[in-house]
């Protein structure tokens, strides 16, 4: 019995690693044609599903990311917003005059993902801290319980509802306030911010609540004000938990698909202002997975791999960095 139990616990724990590794290998295998074709240049190339004539510098990109390859793609006029109505995902389909091939670059969705996440964090962080401080330290118990419950309900709303609400009610307000398009990086970022707010606030509140009363009391007993106690004692004490809440929210924001798909505009174009529409990695995957094939499909897997590595890197960096600091 003892042995069976031990084995069960062990295999449960191993399963996580197997799944993690399996996902990574699957993504990597499926992305390999695109990796071989574009290499790391994929990350800085803003063109997506674009036909270019085959030239010698293009061929070089297979082996190494050279400066000439980058400048080559920069020369092209970038307007590929009519994605979807063509079916030339495969290399070298049009053979009119010069041989051409379709190239894919991940810069646009990468930029869209990073910036929408950053906007969300910048919006959500101060508000979440404010909510957490209010609930943990300032509000009377009854109000804290009530507001805390409301915030936890906010976390239970499915993301598509945030998307619909954002599109119909929030987007016009954002456009009226900041100008530009209704669907844009900014709108997507702000709604993402609203979505991650309850997580961040609830976890931050919980970790602030772990500060021992006696520690707060000893700060008050030195003549500290409430603000000083929060700033100098509670925040440093619950730092690890607060950072954890930010990282968990970051993870959710990076991978959020449905709400962002409603709000970001879904076009493969680099945004020049934050009120411009663009696309994020999960949205690019969700919108194009059905129709893609060949190198296009492989490029989507490449994007997915980048997203995976990105989330993984953020979380493991934070984990190791703050675990080391905590010790």
């Amino acid at each position: 019995m003892e042995k069976i139990f031990q084995k069960f616990a062990f295999s449960s724990a191993t399963l996580v690693f197997i799944i993690l590794l399996g996902i990574f290998i699957t993504l990597f295998n499926a992305a390999r044609p695109a990796i071989n074709e574009f290499g790391l240049n994929f990350i800085v190339d803003p063109a997506w599903n674009k036909e270019v004539p085959i030239t010698t510098p293009q061929a070089k990109t297979d082996k190494s990311v050279t400066q000439s390859a980058v400048s080559n793609t920069d020369d092209e006029t970038v307007d590929v917003n009519d994605f979807g109505d063509d079916s030339d995902d495969m290399m070298m389909q049009d053979e009119d005059d010069t041989p051409t091939k379709t190239i894919y670059g991940g810069l646009v969705p990468l930029v869209g993902t990073i910036f929408s996440t950053l906007i969300a964090l910048a919006f959500a962080m101060p508000i979440a801290m404010g909510i957490a401080i209010f609930l943990a330290e300032i509000a009377p118990k009854k109000i804290a319980t009530f507001v805390g419950g409301a915030i936890e309900l906010l976390a239970a709303i499915p993301s598509i509802i945030f998307g619909m609400w954002g599109l119909y009610y929030f987007a016009p307000i954002v456009a009226a306030l900041f100008g530009g398009f209704q669907v844009s990086l900014l709108t997507a970022g702000l709604v993402l911010g609203v979505m991650i707010l309850p997580f961040m606030a609830a976890i931050t509140r919980d970790s602030m609540n772990t500060t021992p009363d006696i520690l707060k009391e000893s700060a008050y007993a030195l003549g500290a004000t409430k603000f000083e106690v929060i700033k100098d004692v509670i925040f440093p004490y619950s730092k690890v938990g607060i950072i954890g809440s930010i990282i968990l929210s970051l993870g959710r924001a990076l991978g959020e698909t449905m709400a962002v798909a409603f709000l970001i505009g879904s076009i493969f174009e680099l945004p020049h202002k934050i009120t411009d529409p663009t696309i994020s990695i999960p949205v690019a995957l969700a919108n194009n997975f059905g129709e893609a094939s060949g190198l296009g499909m492989s490029s989507l897997f490449y994007l997915a791999l980048i997203l995976f590595v990105m989330s993984f890197a953020v979380i493991s960096f934070a984990k190791f960095y703050f675990l080391r600091k905590a010790n």
Binding site: E217, S218, A219, L222, G223, T225, D232, P236, K239
Partner: protein, 260 residues
């Protein structure tokens, strides 16, 4: 001469009908150590926590009577139960410091811990800060142990060192009275002895009230002892009288270990 005069003081916790402290009258004499002893639940910690009104962090308490505190600057007594404004609370807590059951170092460096009370009091001058931190650490018999690692986290100190750090932190702001709430209950005998020695030395500058459930401790270090039972002050006298010659039967029973 008492630095603090508790007169007909009653205290009721929120949501409770009966007062936890009933009609307490007790002086805290200047440059003396006053020990509060009694069985668990007798109200000795409640009384101590009234003396810097740390109770008021949690709303709904009811005070009656008076607690007069001698203000060294003006030489006058002031009833601390009248305090309502935050800046008055801050001043009270700078005058009446407190040490808790467990060491409570803040999550910052050793230097910053001791300097904390000074910094929030508005002292910014670096050399003044380091002078007063050094003086406080020397006064708490900790300087020789930590002088080479003032920038390190206070969390790395041992329990006894942390408690002496907390005492240094409280001493740094030069309080008139220091309240000790069972300061050695979480410490080993050697650290306890160091803390007791320190408290006795501090008496020269600061008046001290200490809650302890260790009667030997009370008899070793205190000048006056108050025995409390079920919210009443049963007997207050010089420590030797309480331990050798108690007037009340209940005091004698408690001292001799017949109950408690």
């Amino acid at each position: 001469m008492p630095v603090m005069n508790i007169k007909k003081f009653s205290f009721t916790y929120p949501g409770v009908s009966d007062p936890s402290l009933k009609n307490i009258t007790l002086p805290i004499k200047k440059n003396k150590i006053t020990a509060l002893i009694g069985p668990s639940g007798c109200g000795k910690s409640t009384l101590l926590r009234s003396m810097n009104r740390i109770h008021d962090l949690y709303p709904g308490n009811k005070y009656e009577g008076k607690i007069d505190l001698l203000d060294f600057e003006s030489g006058k007594y002031k009833n601390i139960l009248d305090i309502k404004k935050e800046n008055e609370f801050i001043k009270l807590r700078q005058q009446v410091g407190m040490i808790f059951q467990k060491p409570t170092p803040f999550p910052m460096s050793i230097f910053d811990n001791v300097a904390y009370g000074l910094k929030i009091d508005g002292i910014k001058n670096k050399s003044e800060l380091s002078d007063r931190v050094e003086a406080a650490l020397k006064g708490s018999a900790l300087w020789s142990e930590v002088s080479d690692r003032l920038g390190k986290s206070a969390m790395g100190l041992s329990g006894g060192q942390q408690q002496r750090l907390c005492i240094a932190r409280a001493v740094a702001v030069k309080p008139e009275v220091l309240l000790f709430d069972e300061p050695t209950s979480a410490l080993d005998p050697i650290s306890t002895a160091a803390i007791e020695e320190l408290i006795v030395e501090l008496r020269n500058d600061i008046s001290i009230a200490i809650v302890t459930h260790n009667m030997q401790q009370a008899s070793r270090i205190s000048d006056y002892t108050a025995f409390m039972y079920l919210g009443d002050l049963v007997e207050y006298d010089k420590t030797e009288n309480i331990f050798l010659n108690p007037k009340e039967k209940r005091t004698e029973d408690y001292i001799t270990g017949r109950f408690g």
